[in-house]
Symmetry: C2
Subunit: 512 residues, 2 copies
């Protein structure tokens, strides 16, 4: 292991290289996969699952609760509506989905950060929804708008985060019915990457659209996607008024809904992969199809959030082989519908950024990339089954996300990639470190992890015997210290502030 020796006198050089590597990290707006998708489920199995989804839609039907407008829309296209239960004639949803684009652009206020959703592209976004935050210094606590801003800043600084996301944590210090203003504003003000809108009420969705219009212009918004919006089905086989209200508002404004059955297998779906896939396919097809009734051609994403529960305790579990198979099968089902697909992330049930957190996250993230997921929420920062946004986990995850981009490049078989000149130069028993090819490819040869410690144990001890989370703690603090806000036109900023002030003043605070 001679390569391990004499490292101590290289620390200065390491530090300079590290600094350079970080400054250097080239801008990639999103991942384009040069590797084929991994399909673990056979076509025969997928056909059985699709037939069962048709049966669910036609015989069992789905419920659209407390939303007569949605029921009327379904009636208008020939569905059989009994009370709140909708039965779908065979093929109706597939027919409606033909107008949905297979691929579309979500625009960012910085065009260099526009993302392409669909096809061979993978867009990674931060954790969404946790009411709590966690770091090694202050432990677990409720999220605040300050934490929200911090995670927006961290995602802005991370080349591997292609998207600013949505509810990176719940700013619990703000009233429920007004926090959406500050969340949307934070994404616009502290980042110039694409972001997500509020879905907790139709009027909050409209506020999101109105704020986006102040940034992009009303006409542009009506004709282009500038927000993704997370619409969860209330599995099994139910959509509620809140989600439907947001879906209708965004679809009518040409903004893309990410229609996602939220399923914990065993509780909200059968304890089997095939059963879960049939149910989520029926749910996703109906929800996605509804956007096309409202506005044919409006972009929509086939979404899936699937995990299992512990049959001992009922607790959600993550990074399990069963959910990996469902993720992979759902990706294939959405490709067969020619729709962009959302799923995956860096999930874990762990309460700490420890080994369990990493095993579970890596299992899910690698399957996310290999399965050809187009948009992945929760790719960084997720902890404790989604109840916590973790600062250290965020830093560890973005390192893994960056590695996924390198994996997606595949094997380079250009002349330089073949490197036969190097093999000839070095020959049997030689050493490649000094050869011309190595020198020429030195800088970009291998991905450089920021969180991993690959040094000798002696060097690692000299550096303080730190574990990964402790190193990550120093990194996120440095990132926030180095943060510089992207320029925002003062006129736009003023208009946003004025809009928020007026709207906030127009109704009383409330926590529902």
């Amino acid at each position: 292991m001679s390569a391990r020796e004499g490292r101590s006198n290289r620390r200065g050089r390491d530090a300079r290289r590290e600094a350079r590597a970080v400054n250097q990290s080239r801008h990639i707006p999103y991942i384009t996969r040069n590797i084929p998708v991994t399909n673990l489920v056979s076509d025969e199995a997928l056909e059985i699952i699709e037939a069962n989804a048709d049966t669910i839609l036609e015989e069992i039907g789905l419920e659209f609760r407390e939303d007569p407008e949605s029921l009327a829309l379904w009636k208008s296209v020939g569905a059989d509506v009994q009370g709140e239960r909708v039965h779908f004639p065979k093929g109706l949803c597939q027919q409606l989905l033909k107008t949905a684009p297979a691929e579309f652009t979500q625009y960012a206020r910085n065009p260099a950060n526009n993302v392409q959703i669909g096809g061979n592209n993978t867009v990674l976004a931060p954790v969404y929804g946790p009411p709590f935050v966690h770091d090694l210094d202050k432990g677990r606590r409720y999220g605040t708008i300050k934490d929200f801003e911090n995670f927006v800043k961290l995602a802005y600084m991370a080349p591997a985060m292609h998207h600013s996301g949505g509810t990176v944590c719940e700013p619990v210090d703000l009233p429920v019915n007004k926090r959406h203003f500050d969340m949307v504003y934070s994404h616009i003000k502290y980042s110039d990457k694409p972001f997500m809108g509020s879905v907790t009420a139709p009027e909050r969705a409209q506020d999101s659209v109105d704020m986006a219009s102040l940034v992009f212009g009303e006409e542009f918004v009506q004709n282009n996607c500038v927000m993704l919006n997370l619409i969860n089905a209330n599995s099994p086989m139910t959509y509620d008024a809140t989600m439907l209200g947001a879906l209708k508002t965004y679809a009518a404004n040409n903004q893309a809904c990410v229609v996602s059955p939220f399923i914990l297998s065993g509780a909200m779906s059968p304890v089997s992969g095939a059963g879960t896939l049939s149910q989520l396919l029926a749910e996703a097809m109906a929800g996605c199809a509804l956007t096309q009734i409202i506005k044919p051609g409006t972009p929509v994403i086939f979404g899936t959030f699937v995990s299992s529960i512990s049959m001992q305790s009922g607790a959600p579990t993550f990074g399990t082989p069963e959910s990996s198979l469902v993720l992979n099968g759902a990706a294939e089902l959405s490709r067969r519908l020619n729709l962009p697909f959302r799923s995956g992330g860096s999930f874990t049930a762990s309460k700490l950024p420890d080994a369990q957190a990493a095993y579970e996250s890596a299992q899910t993230l690698l399957m996310t990339l290999l399965s050809g997921v187009n948009f992945s929420l929760h790719a960084a920062g997720w902890l404790e089954g989604g109840l916590c946004s973790s600062y250290e986990k965020f830093v560890m995850d973005i390192d893994q996300c960056a590695m996924m981009e390198v994996l997606a490049r595949g094997i380079d078989v250009s002349e330089n990639g073949q490197a036969m000149d190097a093999v000839r130069e070095v020959g049997p028993g030689g050493h490649f470190l000094g050869c011309a090819h190595t020198q020429a490819n030195f800088e970009d040869a291998f991905y450089r992890s920021r969180t991993a410690d690959n040094n000798s144990v002696e060097q690692w001890q000299a550096d303080g015997s730190k574990d990964t989370a402790t190193r990550a703690n120093a990194i996120w603090k440095q990132m926030l210290a180095d943060y510089q806000a992207p320029a925002l036109d003062q006129g736009i900023d003023d208009a946003l502030q004025e809009f928020m002030a007026k709207r906030k003043a127009s109704f009383a605070d409330s926590n529902v």
Copy 2:
């Protein structure tokens, strides 16, 4: 998250279930993959790599050092031998490899533990080679024969370890020239799973064969594979006398060599994936072909150990996207040669069983399974770039290995797997926990992790706020406390002891 509530009063039940789940864990001698292999490298790219490997073999050649016998063997089949450099006529190695079996059985002293090497099968074995061991109580220290026995016992007790492996750690407390006796004996005595022989000298290889003959019978050994044996190429493009001596001994005795180029890209091969693949293919083909000259038809495994080095420090790195791509491409190259393939494992450069260790291990292990690896060393216990066998990491890894078996089953589309009765019974807005299908599939529905904590944060705190490694520490101690040795025929045991005593007395201790 109602599923998270009222857990505290379930702890007794959890404990009983946990106990049951562990006792229950069904015996699986090895993984048979029902999912297709994942190929990330195109056929066109593989053809370029194969052509370059032919060029390396023919134009550059390989060196077989300080072993005239090997040079003579190559001469006898028409290779061009110049000094220690062997140039191979185009197609010679491929021609010789036609006699090697695509799949073979390695026999264990307990026939229920025989493993099938090749085809759709994956056999997982423990870490191989570390001079140090690590646990949370005593930290990092040199390995001893006691540690060696402990890891053999842990692998014996782990359903997900299909193989007892070889040098699970170096018993540094025993003389180098005699420790192989105690290592082979420990595998036979404390486990009844298949194991590996000594390769550090030809006579130690012969001792291994002789000891195996006392267990299986001489004739059986000469006609069947009862040992795998790790033969590393001295990359680049070199085989040394020690490895060649062991290879010749085992091949002559019909025991399978795992011929593995040991490559850290950037040092022992080019800094590119395609260059590394071409070189390792040339090295592996020549080494595997040599076994067929010695004994046509003897089983042999196309092996690969590949990682990269940090271009900042020269230190080995693990779980990187570059090495994942090479692993995947090498698997495909070996399938194209119709040879069983060895690679992968649960690698990490981390000095602790922490998040880095888990991220890096999971990235490699999942790629190992998806790539269709047939035999994987280092699947459990590897730490610190292979310098340490970790007790806690071993326990965490076997949990991941068990999940790989579940993943390999794929999606079940039987009537029961489709679960349409459950969907019909529950319907929109219902709950699957109580339905007939869930009750019927309750016990085996989902894999039950032993190391993960999926409980609520309150329950986790009540349990002591332990991280994963701390939980793993308790588990390996419990496993060793519960260990019961498999029966070994007293006559065989006596014969082994007598053989070792005689041989040990016949030459002086030495540490080379």
